[in-house]
Symmetry: C2
Subunit: 265 residues, 2 copies
């Protein structure tokens, strides 16, 4: 089973949009896909029509009360299952603060779950706290959505440091699979500069033989497309809402690259 964490502590760069539409595209290709929403905002859940409800158990109950993940998983469409989040999850940072091995809870819950999936994808909140650490410890791969803006670039080195620490201390199998540029608007000078900086960074890292030496910058650029911002209000993936849009074309292309494990280098 492939397991992919979608992370970036910078807010609003396209994490949820990527997690949901990549999961939906892989499901359309026939893979059995499980999407876990680890963001207290519960936007991935909402995006696929699951409205958080206090009475129903969510990933919050799994993390804090060890509710088996099988009881908090909903079949939303062919080949696609979702474990929803809830606002209460925001309290998990403090509730789990003193728990021994608090970063390993999700990993153990996934291991104990008997269901078979081809791919697990985890959407993370805009922070590097205990929830994101649980995703990084539970997964083998990381995909990093990046908006080609200066402020978005600034936090990447801190993000990679965190991935590196997790890989050394908590999860030796963790690898950065790739960086995907999201919300790309034409070819502004700014976007080209940022993309150039990121490419240069990975090229020097590659020579050092570091953890990122086989990381890719996906060739697919996700273009800005208002359909991607509209789809969540209908509780649908881009493929159900606007299958002929640029958004659908781009996320299909990304899914093809991710499936091939293709590297641009």
């Amino acid at each position: 089973m492939r397991s992919i964490a979608i992370i970036n502590q910078k807010g609003g760069v396209g994490k949820t949009t990527t997690a949901v539409n990549l999961a939906a595209a892989l499901a359309d290709f026939g893979q059995r896909v499980w999407l876990i929403d680890l963001d207290p905002q519960a936007h991935a859940s909402l995006h696929l029509g699951l409205v958080p409800d206090e009475r129903q158990p969510t990933v919050y109950n799994a993390l804090t009360e060890r509710t088996p993940l099988g009881t908090v998983r909903h079949h939303v469409s062919t080949n696609l299952w979702v474990t929803p989040s809830h606002l209460d999850l925001a309290a998990a940072e403090l509730e789990l603060a003193n728990e021994v091995g608090r970063e390993m809870i999700l990993r153990d819950l996934i291991e104990q779950d008997p269901a078979e999936f081809d791919t697990v994808i985890i959407d993370c909140p805009p922070s590097l706290g205990v929830l994101t650490l649980n995703a990084l410890t539970a997964c083998r791969e990381v995909i990093l959505p990046l908006q080609p803006h200066f402020l978005a670039l600034h936090g990447v080195s801190k993000l990679l440091q965190t991935v590196e620490i997790v890989a050394k201390r908590l999860n030796r199998e963790l690898r950065l699979s790739g960086v995907v540029f999201c919300m790309c608007e034409g070819t502004t000078r700014l976007a080209n500069e940022v993309i150039g900086d990121v490419e240069a960074f990975f090229n020097t890292e590659r020579e050092k033989g570091s953890l990122w030496s086989d990381a890719a910058i996906y060739e697919t650029r996700i273009r800005k497309n208002v359909r991607l911002a509209e789809a969540p209000s209908f509780g649908q993936s881009i493929f159900e809402y606007a299958p002929n849009s640029n958004g659908a074309i781009d996320y299909l292309a990304l899914a093809t690259e991710v499936m091939a494990g293709d590297r641009i280098r």
Copy 2:
């Protein structure tokens, strides 16, 4: 002294861009303005050219070691002072978890600071944790940047609930001054729907005489403008970087509304 917290737990909606450019516009109008960066990403600091440096004390030291704010304040341009942040601030959530009255630390530090300012503006991280609670307890006003997207709208009621709890329990003077729509791209159907929903929400709240009854939706819409995304890479506000751009025009208009305390309703 006016004190304004810029908050929204949804990531990437324009909090930092609004905090920095509103502060710069008020400073250009002749007000003595103090911008406090309460986000561990330190993007407001970076936006004005202050590169976080381990050796220099920052707001992290103020919150966790009670370093007087006067020693962590830098004069960056005429009428504008900045208290920078640092990545270490991300640990504050856990470090302050068991501190009695942890939400009041910043309020007390500001009260003890003898310097005179016309306006204090606080940029917050994309969460409703202890850092944002400190800003809400220290300020009398809240400005809520909102991207006219479905996912961005979804969290507003939770945000208002948090403001309401702080106003009841920790800070009776706290009021929502207004909502400003940011990153507006023309007049898409989605944007009009979201703006319509927000206006309807505040109109019904107004009739109930709630905390939001004198909250405004600022008439100024901040248009999407690539100059706003470029300015941070030069360490400048939009007024220094591109004074004739739409970004500068829009943030000047917003500052005029904020100064007049003008209400649209």
